[in-house]
C-alpha cells in the first residue's frame, strides 16, 4: 500500500508518500490548482505511484484541496499540519506555520488539535508579504533573507501589507541600505507572527513549519519575539503533506 498526502498551498504544492514508497517533492502551484493536480498525478506515476489503483490512498489538503478530484479524503490543513507536526515534534507541541497566504498557530495536546488560530483576511505576517517586499527590492526570497541577516532593522510599523509597501518605497526613496530594509521586512513578519501566536498559550515545544521553516535566522528572530525557543524543521514545508499521508493511512485502516 502507498499513502499519498497532497498539500496544495497558494504558492507551493507539496507531496509526500509513505508506505512501500517513501518520497516527497514540491511544485509551484501556478495559476490553476487543477493543472497542478494533474502534474502531481503524472509525477507520481513516473515515480511508480498510481493514484488510480486500489493500493493507493490519497488525502488532499491545503487551500486547493477541493481541486484534487482523485482524493479519497479531503482534510483541512489545520488537521494535517497538526498530524505532520506531531510526527516531527511529539504529542505535546505548538506548530507555527507561516504559509504563502495565511499563518496558523496550532496547539497539539495528546496528539490531537486542541486549539488553533489563523490570521484574518490579511496578508501581513505571511509569505505573501515577504514575496511582495522581495519583489519590491528586486531580489529572491533567499536573497532577501541573506541581505536581512547582514542588516540592521529599519522599523516598519504598518499593520497592512499595502501600507507597509509604501513604507518600504519611502525607505528606498530615502536611499536607505537595502540590507537594513530587508532586515526590517523580515522583522515585521516575525513581529506579526509572534503577535498572533501570543494570543494562545504556547506549549514548551514550538516548531516552525511552512516555506520558511528551515531558516534558523527567522526562527531566531521569532524566538526572541515570542519568548520561547521556536525550532526550525528541516522538512517543515512538508508537514501538511506528510500529515495528510499519515491520516490517509490511519483513516483507511479504520474502515
Amino acid at each position: 500500500m502507498n499513502y499519498v498526502g497532497i498539500d496544495i498551498g497558494s504558492t507551493a504544492s507539496k507531496v509526500a508518500v509513505t508506505g512501500e514508497k517513501e518520497l516527497k517533492f514540491v511544485l509551484p502551484t501556478g495559476w490553476s490548482s487543477k493543472e497542478t493536480t494533474m502534474l502531481i498525478k503524472e509525477k507520481l506515476l513516473e515515480d511508480g505511484v498510481d493514484v488510480g489503483d486500489a493500493e493507493t490512498k490519497v488525502a488532499a489538503t491545503g487551500y486547493g484541496r477541493i481541486a484534487v478530484d482523485f482524493a479519497d479524503y479531503v482534510i483541512t490543513e489545520i488537521t494535517c499540519h497538526a498530524r505532520g507536526g506531531r510526527e516531527m515534534a511529539g504529542d505535546e507541541c505548538t506548530i507555527i506555520d507561516v504559509g504563502g497566504q495565511d499563518t496558523k498557530v496550532i496547539l497539539v495536546s495528546e496528539g490531537m488539535v486542541q486549539d488553533f488560530l489563523m490570521n484574518d483576511k490579511c496578508s501581513a505576517g505571511t509569505g505573501k508579504f515577504l514575496e511582495i517586499m522581495a519583489n519590491r527590492l528586486g531580489v529572491s526570497l533567499q536573497e532577501l533573507f541573506d541581505m536581512a541577516a547582514a542588516g540592521t532593522v529599519l522599523p516598519i510599523s504598518s499593520l497592512c501589507t499595502v501600507f507597509a509597501e509604501s513604507e518600504v518605497i519611502n525607505y528606498i526613496g530615502e536611499g536607505k541600505n537595502r540590507e537594513d530594509i530587508a532586515a526590517g521586512v523580515v522583522d515585521s513578519v516575525a513581529a506579526k507572527v509572534a503577535q498572533l501566536s501570543q494570543r494562545k498559550n504556547l506549549s514548551e515545544k514550538v516548531i516552525l513549519t511552512g516555506g520558511l521553516s528551515h531558516s534558523r535566522y527567522f526562527t531566531g528572530i521569532l524566538s526572541a519575539k515570542v519568548g520561547k525557543t521556536v525550532e526550525p524543521t528541516a522538512d517543515g514545508r512538508y508537514a501538511g503533506a506528510l500529515g495528510a499521508a499519515l491520516l490517509a493511512r490511519e483513516k483507511s485502516a479504520r474502515r
Partner: protein, 424 residues
Amino acid sequence: MADNHKMWEELGMNLELHDQLCEVLPQAFGDVFLSQENRPEGMDYYNMVVADIHGIRPAELIEHQKKGGKVFGTFCVYVPDEVIFAADAIATGLCGGSQFWVPGGEKVLPTNTCPLIKASVGARLDRTCPFFRIADMYIGETTCDGKKKAWEILAEDVPVHVMDLPQMKRAKDVKAWAEEIAALKEKVEEFTGNTVTAEKLAESIKLINGKRKALARLYDCRKSETLPISGTDALVISQIAFYDDPARFTQMTNKLCDELEQRIKDGVSVVPAGTKRIMLTGTPLAIPNWKLHNIVETSGAVVVCEEMCTGTRYFENYVDESKETVEDQITAIAERYMNINCACFTPNHARIDDILRLAKEYKVDGIIDVNLKFCNLYDTEGYFIERAMKEANIPVLGIETDYTDSDAQQLRTRVSAFVEMLNN
C-alpha cells in the same frame, strides 16, 4: 411581479439598482435553503415571505399608511415594539444584511464602520429597499458609536428619533431607560396622533410576548437530540420575526412548532445522530446574511442556537403582563429590555452566564464566536468569552467576517478544521 414594480416606482426607488438585488436572491435562496433535505413543510410560509420579500409585506405597510397609520423603522432589539403597536402604528426591523447595500453606505461613512451600519445607511440613501422607503420615522438608539453618528446622517433624509440606552445596569440605569421609553411613547403619540392607553399597551405587550413565546418554543425544539429543523431554517425565521406582522408570524411559527414537536416524537431529525452541535455567539445576522450558517451546515456540523440579536437576545424574557397603569407597564417594559445582555454594556458578565447556560441547554459541542468586522464591542468581549469557555472546557472558534463572499473559502477552512477537531 408586475404590481411590485409599480409599488417600488411609487416609493421612489432606484429600480435599476434594485433589480441587481432581485437577480441574486433566487439563486442564493435556492443554494442555501432549497438544497436542504427533509425540511419541515411549515418552512413554506417563510419561503413565501423571503421569495416576495420586497413585495408582500411592503404592500401591507403601504395599505396601513393609506388608512392613516404610521410605520416606524427600528434597528435594535432594545427598541420596544410594544409602545409603537400600542399607538396603532407598525414597527418594522430595518437592519441591512447584504453586501449589496454596503457601497452606498461607504459613500458617507468611514470604511472601518461595521457592515451592518454601512448596509443600513446605504439601503436608505441608494433607495434600494422598500422598507427603508416606507418607514415614516426611524427609531435609533445609542448602542455603539458607529450608529450614533449614522443617525445624524440619516436624520438629514428621514425623521429619526434616538433613544439613549444606558451602558450600565444599575437601578438608576433601568429607571433612565424607563424614562426613555416614556419619551418614545410621547414621540409616537405625537407622530401618530393616537394615545397610548393602558388597554392598548396591555394588548401590545401580550402581542409581542406571544411572538417571543413562539420563538422560544421554536428554540426549545432545537434543544432536542432529535433535531427537527436546521439552524439555517431557524435563522431565517428569527430574521423574519423582525418585520413580519407579529400576530401572523406568531400563528405560523406556532404551527411550524406543532410539526417540529411531532417530528421529535417520531424521531425525525434533519442530521445524522452524532452530528456536532454548534452555537453561534456574537453580532447579529441581519437578513439576508446566511453565509455562516450555510458554511457550518455544509461542513458536517449543525447550528442549534444563536446567542445573538437574531436569536436568543430577541426573545428571551417576557414583559410582565399584570401591570395596569401606563407608568407601571413602562417600568415593566424597561425591566424586560434591560435584561438583554449586549456587549455595549459594561461590565457585561451576565452575557457570559447566558452563553454557559445556553451551551448546556442546547447540548452544544462547540461555540463559534462571530464578529462582524469593525464591531469593537463584541470583538473585545470575545476575549472574555474565549477564556470562560476554555475554563468550562467548551471548544470555541473566533471568527471575524463581513458581508462579502470573498472570505468564504477561508471560513470554510476554519470551520471544517474546527469540526474535524470536535470529531476527533
